[in-house]
Symmetry: C2
Subunit: 414 residues, 2 copies
């Protein structure tokens, strides 16, 4: 298996506010080709430091990928540093210069003199055309190693990598087939989940298993790497099938889709519509549902009822019921869902009411959340949760719990 | 000024799903001490590679900080690699071993034999006690350089760095005062903003200026580093005051607060209330408003009216008006804001209707957004925007535009 090192160039990525995310995309693509990333380095716009880093990377890895530092300013030192590291010249390319000039002309603008810097290539490099920006990529094969220079903006880097680099890398690397399963699970803590499924996956290094947890959403990636698709699929089934069995109703996605996409598909299949009534989440459920393109097929709308009066006025929740049970109660969650459903004539409705903190307004402990559900089969219903964490985390958990309750009701799971 | 390099150790940070975030915290702390981070490296759990990285870092930087790899398993190679790099021995510390054993005992658990690995220190290292985990940090001064080993979990790393490292570093480094301004701006592209203010800030290296852009929200950090607070404040004023002048009404925050916090404060000061009516953003405005603790002081609630019928039923928008102008129009944005305001009796209301894509339902180009506003002074009002990008970006821009329109109306800016 080949090893890679990724070098992100740019002083802004050495501040406390920025992070190199290009390397995540590149890592994913390289892994799928069977290439392991051994080191990632972030260097500022410093010619000598970068030259040194390139030489060091070439001594460790067969594939070295540099991102950024290909702009037109003095600060952009990647071209020069790579030339220095390889003891090669930088050569002016009239062809690249013409392409850049053309790009400006098409936008009714004149190319600045400074942009000519971007027309220099390391002697012997292959130019990788960049359809989305002025800086082309460069591909240098040298002593059995490959060095790739890519522009920093993700919108330029990704298509360039996909169109120009992956085909070239595929030719270089031994033929391999990668097959993956991408599960998503809710209703577990990471440690409980791991205790449950570790006895299965730890017996295998192929497929590899990666577990990632965020509030209310644990992702499990299985990736099998084999000489044939059949072998890869067989290995995936050998590990994945018993894991699916163990996860049961907690498994909501087999292809990596988020919960809002899963419930969207379930609603569309049933030709059903949905409305929402949100208190402490303030619109998060609606925001997630409508983040899916085409959600107007099943989502009609909803209510953000942040005060008791709004719960009464907009949803018809009985003020006496609120006085009796407080707004953070099973009774009010139910009444909110039923109110949203009847006022929008949707097939289903979900509701959330709770204490997101930092202070409690009803006396219920911070983190207390009620999720309500209303539908055509039977009376409205609500579940109580005690969510850990701060305001943002509690709201995230609550939203996930509401979407998951909807999923389970749509699938008629217990 | 001293230079630092941060090395994050752990193979999990070389996957496409994980990222090193400890370095952001450390960078922030180091910058405040006047220390510049020159390189950041991420290395897997590989003893030889890490040894090599430590040696290389010590040749570049006066301060080398390693995070992670101090656990009890075979994979945890940081202690051994640092010892190798410095040609020193690892020494068993009975004192650390007793502390770890004690920690287990207090939790009614027995220390596993494997945890004894965590009691080894590099010869000559100072031990940095870890109140929140089993692995202590280590501090090694060598040849005018400092090498620090810290545990990986952020909940252990941060207090350990704050309590043990900052005081030691402060003693080592020249006395300095840091003062900062943190502006946030909307309604500019990054390049337009930079063209406007670069003539001011590029004349100064102190204060340093960092510009960070995300959709509809550009952050400008000025950081002055001086021998006295007066000097730092004077420099900040010298650069910051003319920048504020140039930014004018686009400047919404002087302390880094997000727009939803700024409008919250303005509403609270005016004892005013707010409601929202959202179409293509599906709840994002409500979600952001309610992400602020205490937003129930001014936010009453709102409507997600994703379909034409919901706009009519929930907000009282005239169906004939929709038929005449389509739902994506100035007229409907106005009617939505007015409907939300009158149905909730709030002081102010904002609305959003538009085409977030990927397809247009009304014929208006994708990215067309109307933001409506209704208040007690004068008739409702709406602005048209053409937002670039994909669905997520358009929705983000639209939400920001709605919050900013509200801000400007509350401040009676043009």
């Amino acid at each position: 298996m080949a090893d890679a090192e990724i070098i992100a160039v740019g002083s802004e990525m050495l501040t406390s506010q920025r992070i190199d995310t290009n390397s995540l995309y590149i890592t994913d693509q390289l892994n799928a080709l069977g290439v392991e990333v051994r080191r990632k380095l972030i260097v500022g716009d410093d010619r000598a430091l970068l030259t040194d880093a390139v030489q060091s990377a070439l001594s460790h890895a067969e594939i070295v990928i540099l991102t950024g530092g290909l702009g037109p300013t003095e600060d952009d030192v990647t071209r020069q540093s790579v030339a220095d590291a390889l003891h090669r010249e930088l050569v002016f390319s009239q062809e690249i210069c013409d392409t850049i000039e053309d790009r400006f002309r098409r936008r009714q603008r004149k190319m600045a003199e400074i942009n000519k810097r971007q027309a220099y290539v390391v002697a012997g490099a292959e130019v990788l055309p960049n359809a989305n920006g002025t800086a082309p990529g460069q591909w240098i094969a040298s002593d059995g190693r490959v060095l790739i220079m890519l522009p920093g903006p993700p919108g330029e880097l990704k298509p360039l990598f996909a169109n120009e680099c992956i085909p070239r890398l595929t030719k270089l690397l031994p033929a391999q087939v990668i097959r993956a399963r991408f599960y998503r699970v809710t209703g577990f803590t990471e440690s409980d989940l791991d205790a449950l499924i570790a006895p299965v996956y730890t017996k295998y290094t192929n497929p590899s298993t990666t577990i990632l947890a965020s509030p209310g959403d644990i992702q499990i990636h299985l990736r099998a790497r084999c000489g044939s698709a059949e072998d890869a699929e067989r290995l995936l089934a050998e590990v994945g099938d018993p894991i699916e069995e163990l996860l049961g109703r907690h498994l909501f996605s087999r292809n990596g889709d988020p919960l809002e996409a899963i419930v969207g598909t379930l609603l569309r299949e049933r030709r059903a519509t949905l409305s929402v009534a949100e208190s402490c989440t303030g619109g998060m459920v609606g925001e997630r549902i409508t983040s899916i393109a085409g959600s107007s097929d099943y989502f009609v709308g909803g209510f953000v009822t942040y005060t008791d009066r709004m719960k009464a006025d907009l949803l018809g929740v009985d003020a006496a019921l609120i006085a009796e049970h407080t707004a953070v109660s099973k009774e009010i969650a139910r009444a909110m869902a039923e109110g949203a459903r009847s006022r929008t004539s949707s097939t289903f409705a979900v509701s959330i009411t709770g204490e997101a903190g930092p202070e409690s307004s009803t006396g219920a402990p911070v983190g207390t959340i009620f999720v309500g559900f209303a539908g055509p089969d039977g009376p409205p219903d609500a579940l109580r949760f005690a969510m850990p964490g701060d305001r943002a985390r509690i709201r995230g958990f609550a939203t996930q719990a509401a979407l998951d309750l909807l999923r389970r009701r749509l699938l008629k799971l217990e």
